[in-house]
Symmetry: C2
Subunit: 216 residues, 2 copies
DNA sequence: AGCCCCAGATTGTGATCACAAAAAATCCAT
DNA sequence: ATGGATTTTTTGTGATCACAATCTGGGGCT
């Protein structure tokens, strides 16, 4: 009898596609701080009209990923030293909690995934690949935090990552990367041992050390 | 002759106006969870076209203030119990820190302002005015945190308030309000005494107690 | 009565246009 | 050539329109 069939699965809207693409670029540091962003530029970069481009920009500015001047011009934000330290503080408050919540749910496969990601991080450090380093570093944290079953808290942390993205990429040379892999190893060991205080400490150290000396 | 003169100071854009108005309504609990929101409805409520209404909705959804179904319909979010507790946890992590940062900068005038707001809160409790209670309660917290000089952290906390707004209003009857004023008094006393641990404890108690038993 | 199906109304989405403000390029007088 | 005024271009903003998907009632069939 062939019911009407539902072949036309509602495709994801254009503004959503553009939003996701831009957000990924910003979070992974592919945008330079202060770089001018124009709505029309986005529109014909992605081959769409102004409307979805504008909506994507609105969402991004709402998340603090883009800052707009009084005249409405948008650009990737130039973060002040105080702002960087503030965002680092937020990470230091939320991420240990996420790690602690993930711990009881972390099984062996997850730990192995984390180790694999960590070797990728080390490779990126050797290759001095800023974008690759940021991407795999965030993947490490996200992989762990996804187990926390705390989507709102994870979303909040991702917003912070987003705001830090362009700055971290621009100041990549000043980033204290050597310790990152070490802190991650400590975290993994604590995860294995079921040592919650140690895990929280390692994550906190990773976050604060990595972002130290970013403004000088 | 006669220089062009600059009388037309660029007025705040329409989408900004609509956004602020909607955001305030949501944060203060004037929207019922699950209530359907239509772009055209917003548009002719505020006497504007669809474009700025859509942009306001986009920003609000980016903040989690509105949730949209797969079909694109938007509504005030129905928070699950787990989500409520998660948001309460975020408040419990961030707000004590904001209070602690505000403390060294808190002078006498601020403390008096807080006391005045607190008496207003008590009046709202007596009058059983849900919206008034939420509004003045948030004003109490915001007044304190503004002194923390931590705009990013405050913005993050406001986002959480925004997400909780409709639910808090709907479940107003279950809110443990009697203790609110008491916790606030404890916080004020700690503020006066320069007792940072006491202040952080009072704020944490206020946040967690107030939101306890919101899902049953 | 219960259920299904279809027509009409509602709604989100994307494109296009007109307009004003701002930025950039150009020109002119010194 | 240089600095300031002016013209040209760029850009954000808001409105309107067309279209498809969705939702809503109503009517007819079993």
């Amino acid at each position: 009898m062939s019911k009407p069939d539902r072949p036309a699965e509602t495709s994801t809207p254009t503004h959503e596609r553009v939003f996701r693409a831009l957000r990924s670029e910003i979070m992974h540091g592919e945008i330079t701080p202060g770089q001018a962003i124009t709505i029309r530029g986005i529109a014909d970069t992605y081959g769409v009209s102004m409307t979805p481009a504008r909506e994507a920009v609105r969402r991004l500015t709402a998340e603090g990923a883009l800052s707009l001047s009084k005249t409405g011009r948008v650009s990737a934000p130039q973060l002040s030293t105080e702002r960087i330290e503030e965002l680092a503080s937020i990470r230091a408050l939320l991420e240990p909690e996420l790690a602690a919540r993930a711990q009881p749910r972390a099984h062996l496969a997850l730990i192995e995934r984390l180790q694999n990601i960590n070797t990728t991080i080390e490779q990126m450090i050797v290759k001095k690949d800023a974008v690759g380093y940021i991407r795999s570093n965030l993947e490490f944290h996200r992989t762990l935090y996804l187990r926390a079953q705390a989507p709102a808290m994870l979303a909040m942390v991702e917003t912070v990552w987003l705001q830090l993205g362009p700055t971290m990429s621009a100041l990549y040379a000043r980033l204290q990367r050597p310790n990152a892999a070490g802190n991650h190893r400590t975290a993994i060991a604590a995860l294995r041992a079921g040592d919650e205080p140690g895990l929280k400490l390692a994550i906190r150290a990773d976050v604060t050390q990595g972002l130290r000396m970013l403004g000088s």
